[in-house]
């Protein structure tokens, strides 16, 4: 049974990100010949002297014309053990917005550095955003080793530089992704899919081998207390099942078993799980990420936006919270701004009651500001019009996350991670 790994890539312009992804797709035989032919044609038309694998990932015409990547693109490849979804996040315009988006669902962040340049300010940003988004694993891909003579001293130096950054991140965010550093050369293909003959001093896995092996079982919150946001109430009202009432949703975290005592939030009423239904038959238990339908032992007034949670470990139910917000809109966010806040399956009106500081993701310092602008990340206090059952994002990447929407235009304004509830 093969499983799924989602990873996000990050790197400064020209570090070789597109080449690396092209290489992964190509060497894992996920590039089809017609795609390759089209890339070969374009490459030849542009006068490139080699087939530019980077072109495999530039989808939109504007991107091909300008030779840059504009928006997050998703790529797919698989090996017999695992399937992979790659969120390819471009480094130019809208950098923070793209990386935060890609990292939000990632099990692993792939951060590229050019061996000749070492750890740059951009690298610190990428690592900081991975830490902020609580991506559980990070690969430091030290690329273009061919241009430094495959020298282990260069690699060691980059690893040492990054260790210092990691230490800073740990003290700032309280935790850090698990880091693996791999020396590679994406263009000729060293240590991407095949172990490199040119770097015998390196005894770790090639990138693909690492991606296949990295354990993500514990990262999906299956060990956490149960959280089940109700999405939709199922009432067939059929002659066969006149009284059926089930709460459909996706397990956000933990495990829910038939017979478990649960609390429905925000009402706080208690009951037990009478059954867990699926089209394929009843289950004894549902785990994080499964989409199921839960029946309760007693008729409670439960509807979309409510959350069923483990009775012995409920989240806080609050109307005020502190969060780190990544702002993604042109018009700035200020204290007093009114927005819509979507948290799990509940959308409520909210007001920004305070804006304390802006985080400089490169220096990890912060400064006090009056507003958050496009691609800024800052600390925000919010008050919601009705209560939410929230966890701190550091504990739960699902029930600690929210997005902010513009009530007038409907646009997505920003992404938020709950820091504290009060």
């Amino acid at each position: 049974m093969s499983d799924l790994l989602r990873f996000a890539t990050a790197g400064s312009v020209d570090d070789g990100k597109s080449t690396l992804i092209g290489r992964l797709l190509y060497d894992s035989k996920s590039v089809f010949t017609d795609q390759l032919e089209s890339v070969e044609r374009t490459s030849a038309d542009r006068g490139d002297d080699y087939t530019n694998l980077a072109l495999l990932t530039d989808g939109l015409r504007a991107e091909r014309e300008q030779g840059i990547t504009i928006d997050v693109a998703y790529r797919y490849f698989s090996t017999p053990v695992r399937s992979f979804i790659v969120a390819d996040t471009p480094g130019h315009v809208q950098y923070t917005r793209n990386m935060v988006t890609g990292a939000s669902t990632a099990d692993l962040a792939l951060v590229l550095v050019d061996a000749r340049k070492g750890v740059l300010e951009q690298t610190r940003r990428h690592a900081a955003l991975s830490a902020l988004l609580r991506v559980p694993h990070l690969v430091l891909a030290v690329n273009k080793m061919d241009l430094v003579g495959y020298d282990d001293a260069v690699f060691d130096d980059v690893v040492t530089q990054f260790a210092a950054v990691a230490e800073e991140l740990r003290s700032r965010f309280g935790s850090l992704p698990e880091v693996t550093a791999i020396p590679m050369a994406a263009l000729p293909g060293d240590n991407v899919v095949h172990a490199s003959e040119n770097m015998r001093w390196y005894d770790g896995p090639a990138l693909l081998e690492h991606l296949e092996q990295v354990s993500v079982e514990r990262d999906h919150g299956e060990q956490r207390p149960a959280r089940f946001p109700v999405q939709y109430v199922i009432r067939p009202m059929s002659t066969e099942r006149p009284d059926y009432r089930g709460y459909a949703g996706t397990m956000a975290s933990g495990t829910l078993r038939v017979g478990d005592e649960v609390v429905a939030l925000p009402s706080g009423r208690r009951t037990t799980v009478a059954g867990i239904d699926t089209f394929d038959g009843p289950l004894d238990a549902a785990v994080a990420r499964q989409a199921v339908t839960v029946r309760l032992a007693t008729e409670l007034d439960v509807s979309r936006g409510d959350m069923l949670v483990a009775a012995d470990a409920p989240p806080a139910t609050v109307s005020t919270l502190q969060a780190t917000v990544c702002w993604m809109a042109d018009a700035p966010l200020r204290a007093g701004s009114r927005v819509l806040l979507k948290h799990t399956t509940r959308t409520v009106k909210a007001m920004v009651t305070g804006l304390t500081e802006r985080l400089d993701v490169a220096s990890l310092g912060s400064e006090s500001v009056e507003e958050l602008r496009l691609n800024d990340i800052g600390r925000v206090s919010l008050r919601t019009a009705s209560p939410l059952a929230v966890d701190v994002y550091a504990d739960d990447r699902t029930t600690g996350a929210f997005i902010l929407l513009d009530e007038a235009t409907g646009n997505t304004l920003g992404a938020g991670m709950v820091d504290a509830v009060a």
């Binding site: 799924l4 998703y74 004894d284 989409a291 997005i403």
Partner: protein
């Protein structure tokens, strides 16, 4: 009864698609599901059954009918709709041709004409959310597509101004007249679709499996002899064992030589295939590298 431990990749994809479908049912007034009888829309329909069981699927199915159909696919469509007791709305490209809203190029392809019919169907049905079976792995312009893809009052897609999509929090906000295209299979690949068809025992039109067919070669593709695709002078007809990888417009959808007669055999074949399904079998997508992007901007699927 079973306890599941460790979700497989297909389990995760299935749950994600079901989640998306339930979000739409909960947040929109009038969703519709595009159902053509092709394998992706069949899988989508299967997922919709799972999402709302034991209730019925709470929205109608919509077929944009080019008129260039494979008989087997239309028969399958009607059988499936009857089985689940769904409501089917058919919007015909022919009606738009007859009304002069689009002009057919003689001997031309009808795929590009479908946009007008699709947008008319959306307007007439007043759908505010339309499920499509497109996947991001199909084509490069689609790789940037969102699960919830905003369309303006003219049905247009603006690839450079898309809403960021984070975690599993989808933004369905839109004004009257605008709508959202929803792609529950965004993260599936062709191989995933076939593995799922095999795992779930989902029925698909028989032309997806190897069968004898009279075909002729054109532009490197094998076209079946039908009323919509007749051999021209110099094109010789032979009977070969073929199957279809996609079942779109019969006049331009090619078959591939294949001995795969069962879902498992198709899975093995797809896993070993080195040509995309569009490259292999869709004349319209070969027109230009940016063909899909242009059509999508104008409101295509």
């Amino acid at each position: 009864m079973t306890i599941m431990t460790g979700l497989s990749q297909l389990d995760v994809l299935e749950a994600e698609s079901i989640h998306v479908m339930r979000e739409v049912a909960a947040e929109f007034e009038r969703p519709g599901l595009l159902f053509s009888g092709g394998k992706d829309s069949i899988v989508m329909l299967h997922l919709a059954q799972k999402a709302f069981w034991p209730a019925r699927i709470p929205f109608p199915l919509v077929h944009v009918d080019t008129g260039h159909n494979f008989d087997e696919v239309l028969a399958f469509r009607d059988r499936r709709v009857a089985e689940i007791g769904a409501r089917l709305v058919v919007a015909k490209v022919q009606d738009d041709i007859d009304a002069g809203r689009v002009r057919e190029v003689p001997g031309g392809l009808r795929n590009p004409l479908q946009t007008t019919t699709l947008l008319r169907a959306i307007e007439e049905g007043r759908y505010d959310a339309v499920f499509g079976g497109a996947r991001r792995d199909e084509e490069k312009a689609r790789a940037k597509e969102r699960f919830f893809s905003f369309r303006d009052a003219f049905g247009q897609w603006d690839p450079k101004n898309q809403r960021p999509e984070l975690w599993n929090l989808y933004n369905g906000k839109h004004a009257p007249g605008e709508h959202i295209r929803v792609f529950p299979l965004s993260n599936w690949t062709e191989l995933d679709v076939w593995r799922y068809i095999a795992r779930e025992g989902i029925a698909v039109p028989e032309i997806y499996y190897a069968h004898d067919r009279e075909v002729f070669e054109r532009d490197g593709m094998l076209l079946g002899v039908t009323e919509h695709s007749m051999p021209r002078e110099g094109e010789t007809v032979t009977t070969r064992v073929v199957r279809y990888r996609t079942v779109g417009d019969a006049s331009c959808t090619g078959a591939v030589a294949s001995p795969a007669r069962t879902p498992d055999e198709v899975v093995d074949e797809v896993a070993a295939t080195r040509v995309t399904e569009r490259g292999a079998t869709r004349a319209d997508d070969r027109a230009s590298e940016a063909a899909m992007e242009d059509r999508k901007k104008a409101g295509y699927f």
